[in-house]
């Protein structure tokens, strides 16, 4: 699997202060579980995303550890409180030096 890949964030661009917003984060990644075999019986090495974090103006507000039981092209839907205008940064990291970063801006009134 390559060292980085496409990711996609779906969340509102603006919200009222204190509102709870839903964030959908998905990364393009095979999430090779390590339990599959080739036709000739050779084991396919594990290669997965291990961690996902979300920071809101540099403060970590959400973190998730992924294990081989997570599905391919992993999707996470979670919530956070819209506290202030700023940038949310999303980071995925995993096996074989995999890293992907995405950002979204939110205006909080």
């Amino acid at each position: 699997m390559s060292k980085t890949s496409r990711t996609s964030i779906t969340m509102p661009a603006s919200a009222k202060k204190g509102a709870i917003i839903e964030i959908r984060a998905i990364a393009q990644h095979d999430m090779e579980s390590g339990f599959r075999y080739t036709e000739s019986g050779k084991a396919i090495a594990r290669d997965i995303i291990r961690m996902f974090t979300c920071t809101y103006n540099d403060i970590e507000v959400f973190k998730m550890d992924f294990y081989p039981g997570m599905g391919a092209n992993p999707l996470v839907i979670f919530t956070t409180v819209a506290t202030e205008t700023g940038t949310l940064e999303f980071k995925w990291s995993g096996d074989d030096g995999y890293e992907a970063i995405n950002q979204a801006h939110i205006t909080v009134s």
Binding site: I20, R36, F62, F66, G69, M70, G71, F78, T79
Partner: protein, 160 residues
């Protein structure tokens, strides 16, 4: 024609022994040791999470489809009842699968800024099984919920 009754108790004894032996054989077939080997891994994983502390059933809702056509990508939603305030919030949610080769699927770490303790994701399920969600609260207590599902096509151990 008189039956020789002296032989009857003898036969009955052997029949009785044979019956006990076959019950034992059937019992061995259903031994928890073989059927629930993976469940032990799951139980241990849950104990590691709770550090041996009691885990109460409640507050945690785990939703997975009752019938899954393909275990490669199963939508899973876990929600924990909590006001998510600075003094009363869910610190972490762990999801454990009894029937997968590895019990842990994911752990989500939340904060009072999370708003809700609700996560939706997509997981691999290797077999029909019970899936557990363990919620760790900021006051150190542990709560759990579970859901059962039937999986018709495995996710982890298929041939390429």
């Amino acid at each position: 024609m008189d039956l020789d009754f002296s032989f009857q108790p003898h036969r009955r004894r052997w029949l009785g022994r044979f019956q006990k032996l076959s019950l034992l054989a059937i019992g061995a077939w259903f031994s928890p040791l073989t059927a629930f080997a993976k469940k032990e891994d799951a139980t241990k994983a849950i104990q590691d999470i709770s550090g041996g502390k009691p885990v109460q059933e409640g507050k945690v809702s785990l939703v997975i489809p009752p019938l899954v056509e393909n275990g490669n990508l199963v939508v899973l939603k876990v929600s924990v009842e909590s006001p998510m305030t600075a003094t009363n919030y869910v610190k972490a949610i762990h999801v454990i699968a009894e029937g997968n080769p590895l019990p842990n699927i994911f752990t989500a770490y939340l904060t009072p800024r999370s708003g809700t303790a609700s996560i939706t994701t997509r997981v691999r399920l290797a077999d029909s099984q019970t899936v557990w969600a363990i919620a760790q609260m900021n006051d150190g207590s542990f709560w759990s919920g579970h859901a059962e599902t039937l999986v018709t096509l495995s996710a982890c151990t298929e041939l390429v």
